[in-house]
């Protein structure tokens, strides 16, 4: 050991160069800035969208705007900005889509998480990822070209571009997110629960139904809510597939128009700074607020899961 002790004296003490330390400080500062950037962007989005729409807020009769169905933004004599029908349009297409997507999504999540293993499970997950990857414009095109014809041919509908068409597309688009979040929620339930249930002689389905559903309740709720959020915000598919008529639907075969589609269709034709232009930004604020609340609820539900 004497050898290594003399070694000890010859060895230089460790010290990092000033440049290295300074470099590290700089990168940590950048990391911190990037860290808070998410907050900046969320506020930025809200503020910039509000900023463009704000001058119009005082000029509108808001009960009329929110509840009237009369959306005539380009009328020569009597401009009316009633978004009631648009809200109903958004809600009806989202609601109908969820009627398909939630049971199918959660059912598929259960199948992937509890009834399949190994290769089957891996394959299904990949397929679901693929489904999630299909761009909304492609869905819209499918709605316009394929579903349109199918609906006209096989269902008693006068037009193929309608509420049902949009809802089916939205359902297919939001199912992947419901499946993946739902599967996470089921995966989060400890295996000991499953084993305990099986040990008492429960079948797989009984385990799912009586043990996993109650235990993963919040996560599944979050999955459904995120699906809703996705559906409300969807633009191109509903723009192309729902028929684009300002209308309160009386049946699922009626054409409708959503908040998102209205912005997408009309923003290009408005002059910057005009009332119509500002109104579209205000619709944006409304959309932002709706999805904000939905996502907040989903987040709370997920957090409920973690606390358990």
């Amino acid at each position: 050991m004497t050898a290594s002790q003399t070694d000890n004296l010859k060895r230089p003490r460790m010290a990092r160069s000033m440049a290295a330390i300074l470099g590290e400080r700089t990168i940590e500062l950048i990391i911190r800035i990037c860290g808070v950037s998410a907050i900046v962007f969320v506020f930025g989005i809200f503020l910039f969208v509000l900023r463009e729409g704000a001058p119009l807020i005082g000029k509108l009769d808001w009960t009329k705007v929110l509840f009237s169905q009369e959306w005539y933004p380009t009328s020569k004599g009597n401009v009316r900005y009633g978004v009631g029908a648009l809200i109903v349009g958004t809600l009806s297409v989202t609601g109908l889509a969820m009627l398909f997507a939630v049971p199918f999504g959660i059912g598929a999540a259960v199948f992937v998480s509890e009834f399949s293993t190994g290769k089957v499970k891996e394959t299904l997950k990949i397929v679901i990822e693929m489904l999630a990857a299909i761009p909304s414009i492609v869905w819209g095109f499918i709605g316009l070209s394929v579903m349109n014809r199918l609906i006209q041919q096989y269902l008693p509908a006068p037009v193929g571009l309608n509420l049902l068409n949009g809802a089916i597309l939205l359902a297919l688009m939001s199912v992947p997110i419901i499946v993946s979040i739902g599967e996470d929620a089921l995966k989060a339930v400890p295996d000991s629960y499953r084993e305990a249930a099986m040990a008492m002689g429960a079948t797989r389905w009984q385990t799912v139904y009586r043990v996993l559903f109650p235990a993963a309740r919040n996560g599944l709720l979050a999955a459904a809510l995120l699906g809703v959020g996705r559906a409300i915000g969807e633009t191109m598919a509903v723009l192309m597939a729902t028929g684009h008529a300002v209308n309160i639907p009386k049946s699922i075969f009626d054409p409708i128009r959503t908040l998102t589609a209205t912005i997408a269709a009309e923003l290009g034709e408005t002059a910057v700074g005009s009332d119509h232009y500002r109104m579209l930004f205000l619709i944006g604020v409304l959309l932002f607020s709706i999805t904000f609340v939905v996502n907040l609820l989903a987040d709370l539900a997920v957090r409920g899961v973690r606390k358990q």
């Binding site: 989005i45 969208v49 199948f111 297919l172 930004f281 996502n295 907040l296």
Partner: protein
């Protein structure tokens, strides 16, 4: 008491029957998702594939977009995606590093996490409004590739943050502690141990965003994409940052809704190219993931 403890009672039989029914119903639900996917792909291939050729991909559209190829749209999409991710990937990764490696459990961290969740939920058309209001008008960039890419960048940011965070969290805590114990600073630990060992996950997340970004339409409609733009063929540098551009997604929208008398297979071919590109990128990310996972070091 029955003679054998393993006799099948009516109750057990009923349970087994229910189990079978549940399995079939759930399987059918999965099939209801998988089959449309396959049907869509098959249909697009059948309708669009005959039109697709190397020439189709590399020539510009002509005759009011009714003839020619899709080169300008394809190149525009590449520009948008590359620039958007060049902006959002570093910011997103560093934000995730902050959240996973630096952030203490306090109100600021909770705010950031909440912001990320909500940013992910902002509708794409609202991103478009933001891009128009902030980049095009307020910052004075004008409708351009740059403005559209920045809009896309912010849209992809939360997903990159989320996937990176997950990848970072998969690196065991004990590695970090071992590094701290020998006097490595936080950043040295992150740079030499945490990042190299979460790279596969981070890359997968970023690659997945390539496919999402390529397919987006709404955010670029009012910030930089145009129906038609003539560009110089045969060069990859035909667009500049301040140019407006065509994009595949926008081109599909234009051809299906604005162009009258377009040849029938044309939109199918465009959709097929877009879908093919997106799915190919997706498949690539899956390959990267499994490749790097098999080389796992612990």
């Amino acid at each position: 008491m029955s003679a054998s403890p393993f006799t099948v009672t009516p109750l057990v039989r009923r349970n087994m029957r229910r189990e079978l029914v549940a399995r079939i119903v759930l399987g059918a639900m999965v099939a209801a998702m998988v089959l449309p996917l396959l049907a869509i792909i098959a249909y697009l291939v059948a309708k669009g594939a005959p039109l697709i050729s190397f020439k189709f991909l590399t020539t510009n559209p002509t005759h009011g977009m009714r003839e020619g190829g899709i080169w300008s749209a394809l190149l525009g999409t590449i520009y948008l995606v590359v620039i958007a991710l060049a902006v959002s990937a570093p910011i997103g990764v560093l934000c995730a590093v902050y959240l996973n490696e630096y952030a203490k459990d306090n109100w600021l961290t909770r705010m950031i996490n909440l912001a990320v969740v909500n940013l992910a939920g902002v509708p794409s058309i609202v991103h478009a409004l933001f891009g128009l209001g902030a980049f095009v008008l307020f910052a004075g960039i004008g409708r351009s590739i740059l403005a559209a890419s920045l809009t896309l960048a912010i849209m992809t940011l939360p997903v990159i943050i989320a996937s990176t965070k997950e990848a970072l969290a998969a690196v065991p805590m004990s590695f970090r502690e071992a590094c701290w114990n020998v006097g490595a600073s936080r950043w040295q630990t992150i740079w030499s141990i945490v990042l190299p060992n979460s790279l596969s996950g981070i890359l997968t997340g970023v690659i997945l965003q390539v496919s999402r970004t390529a397919g987006e339409t709404a955010p670029i409609m009012f910030t930089g994409a145009v129906f038609f733009k003539k560009i110089q063929p045969g060069t990859l540098f035909a667009y500049s940052l301040t140019d407006q551009c065509m994009a595949l997604s926008m081109h599909l929208y234009t051809v299906t809704t604005q162009v009258t008398n377009a040849p029938e297979p044309l939109p199918y071919a465009i959709a097929l190219v877009l879908l093919g590109a997106v799915l190919a990128v997706n498949a690539a990310s899956i390959v990267v993931r499994s490749l790097l996972r098999s080389r796992k070091k612990w």
